[in-house]
């Protein structure tokens, strides 16, 4: 009987030590990410040449693409974390999944906002059936739904399993949404936002922005993940205290 308790307390101590290590890494990531994004803001205006056709508004693109890109990576991470949770049932994966979902929704939301401003300046309508824009919108609806499920009053395992399954299904649905959005406008040729030929400097700035946001995103996910682990600990303590009886 003693060994059962000591084993449980052992991995509790391990996760506590890991928590401290993560704290330092977290701080570094967030700071570095923040600085890199600030630098990229400078680079966008100073270094990148102005695009002839669209002029200044094209510069919004350096912000919009990284947001959309890392938002998608976030949802991929949420799907993978879900798969690992279903396979291994360790609470850590659920915490990472929750963090990835929330951060992903934030990024996708911002990408959507900047995207619609882009649409406003480029085609002076707030909304067009641009495949990427409409996919981002539908993704925001789906993942907002998944986060709503996480807030319902379920036991920990139930919420974690549901969230894991939904994260996988939602990510599998994204390509389907994208292709249907591309087919939907009656025009045969899908409208491609002009990001084909990028001047080398522009590409350099874009990659720099991408990297900067990437570091910041990683810091954000880790921060939210540690918070999710703390929330799990709180829930366990509440049960132990008999606050919410079975």
């Amino acid at each position: 009987m003693r060994d059962e308790l000591t084993a449980i307390n052992a991995n509790r101590a391990k996760s506590a030590r890991a928590g401290a290590g993560l704290g330092a890494l977290n701080l570094v990531l967030l700071l570095a990410g923040g600085l890199a994004m600030a630098a990229s803001q400078w680079a966008i205006f100073v270094h990148a040449p102005e695009e002839q056709v669209m002029g200044l508004t094209q510069k919004l693109f350096y912000l919009h693409l990284p947001l959309a890109w890392w938002g998608l990576v976030s949802f991929l991470l949420a799907g993978l974390a879900g798969a690992f949770y279903l396979a291994k049932r360790t609470p850590g994966w659920d915490a990472l999944g929750a963090a990835a979902l929330e951060t992903g929704l934030l990024l996708a939301g911002l990408a959507l906002f900047t995207g619609s401003i882009w649409a406003r300046t480029a085609w002076n309508t707030w909304w067009t059936w641009d495949p990427r824009l409409s996919t981002a919108l539908v993704m925001c609806f789906i993942y907002a739904g998944v986060l709503a499920v996480r807030r319902l009053d379920f036991s920990f395992e139930r919420r974690a399993s549901l969230s894991a399954v939904l994260s996988i299904v939602a990510f599998a649905d994204v390509p389907l949404v994208f292709f249907s959005a591309r087919l939907w406008p009656r025009t045969i040729h899908p409208s491609i936002v002009g990001n084909g030929g990028l001047a080398p400097e522009m590409l350099a700035v874009l990659l720099f922005c991408l990297a900067g946001l990437g570091v910041f995103w990683l810091g954000l996910v880790l921060l939210r993940c540690r918070q999710a682990l703390a929330e799990q600990r709180l829930e366990r303590l509440q049960i132990l205290n008999g606050e919410n009886h079975e």
């Binding site: 307390n9 919004l60 934030l106 132990l240």
Partner: protein, 54 residues
């Protein structure tokens, strides 16, 4: 709204969005720590604390 204004709006929105999210996280973290501290003292001594079921 000239084009430059839109650009400002877009950039500001992104920074504000991140800022707001970080503030939200910070506030949630504070309330979490307060409740955790409160609970830990009322639960029996820390090391005899069974963790999550396997």
């Amino acid at each position: 709204m000239s084009k430059i204004d839109w650009l400002w709006l877009g950039g500001a929105a992104v920074w504000l969005g991140f800022g707001a999210y970080l503030v939200l996280l910070a506030r949630r973290q504070a309330s979490l720590e307060r409740r955790l501290a409160g609970l830990e003292t009322s639960v029996r001594s820390g090391n005899d604390l069974p963790a999550e079921e396997s």
